[in-house]
Subunit: 222 residues, 2 copies
Amino acid sequence: MQIAFVVYPGMTALDAIGPYELLRSMPDSEVRFVAAAPGKVVTDSGVLALGASHSFDETPSPDIVLVPGGSNGTVGAMNDAALISWLQAVHPTTTWTTSVCSGALILAMAGLLKGVPATTHWVCQEVLGSMGAIPQPDKRIVHAGKIVTAAGVSAGIDLALWLIGEIHGVKQAEQAQLEIEYDPQPPYDAGHPSKVTPEMLAEVRGKLLADAQKPTVATTSW
Amino acid sequence: MQIAFVVYPGMTALDAIGPYELLRSMPDSEVRFVAAAPGKVVTDSGVLALGASHSFDETPSPDIVLVPGGSNGTVGAMNDAALISWLQAVHPTTTWTTSVCSGALILAMAGLLKGVPATTHWVCQEVLGSMGAIPQPDKRIVHAGKIVTAAGVSAGIDLALWLIGEIHGVKQAEQAQLEIEYDPQPPYDAGHPSKVTPEMLAEVRGKLLADAQKPTVATTSW
């Protein structure tokens, strides 16, 4: 089972790395990071670079595709013809096509979410709806046939755990969870819009929308 | 405030990337990924490469240091003289010295955990004790003065959230949590040894110990 994580400039690393650490423990699986060409990809922070291990051309028939979001890279990815064409080409033969965070907007841009219930980062729910999907803002994971979408950033970890259970059953999912000691104990409880004040929600929304306008500036000396 | 994430061959990416996605949202902070020299670092999967953005020499006085674990890279890091010397050199002037997962063994190797209460991945608790620390196997985060250690892999996310609260207060921590939508809803509940059968615990322990013996083989074509 080949699992392809899409990578692109300005992506949010945790969107992909969270699910990757779970999915790579599945038996008989091969993980790869795909882009138009192998090489360095600078993430949205500008200081963290990830490597694309394989090209789209080398990856014509992945079993699982995961598309991450990106605080300032999503729009670029939505307008990346090679990325969008590849998604359209491989989706018909995937077993699962998935996204985390604003990655859902990239699936929508590829035309894969028309009339499909889906979720995304809370700040992107309206845009997702305007692109033809049926937003599910209160759901952390939404599965609609073989399309599975997760809410913002950290929700990809829950998506991956769910997916292992679907593919290999409860025991394999539990083993993967134990391996990464995923027994979350957040010391605060503000991880969803319903849990914060309107003032905080407005403030964070403003920050995220401002971040989305900033170009990714590489600050890594490598 | 400069935040330095140590990177090394065979590390587990999520150990660093989870905390990074939270800590980088702190005001007036500068994040960097440090190694002996800037450049590509192949993680424990062999297929994911991260970039070290700065060298140890370029980073003589970080405010926060975070040392990740690695399923097959921890022993190599423990025996990496440049890494251990750098930890010993910078620790006296850090505000916080932290580890995730088996990264605690690397702090212990640097002599920083003698008589210090600390935690690590559940599979490493005994080794941690044998190195002079006081293991706290039931704690997800342990703070002892300026040293903060987290349990396995995903526990780094909780550590980072806690740290933001200590440094900037509740509001900043809650905003960071909302940004990455950290409202965990794992579909299974097997993330701690106390939550699984002895058979499953033995099976996963065996797998992890076998993984630790395997060298990191780079399979990325980049």
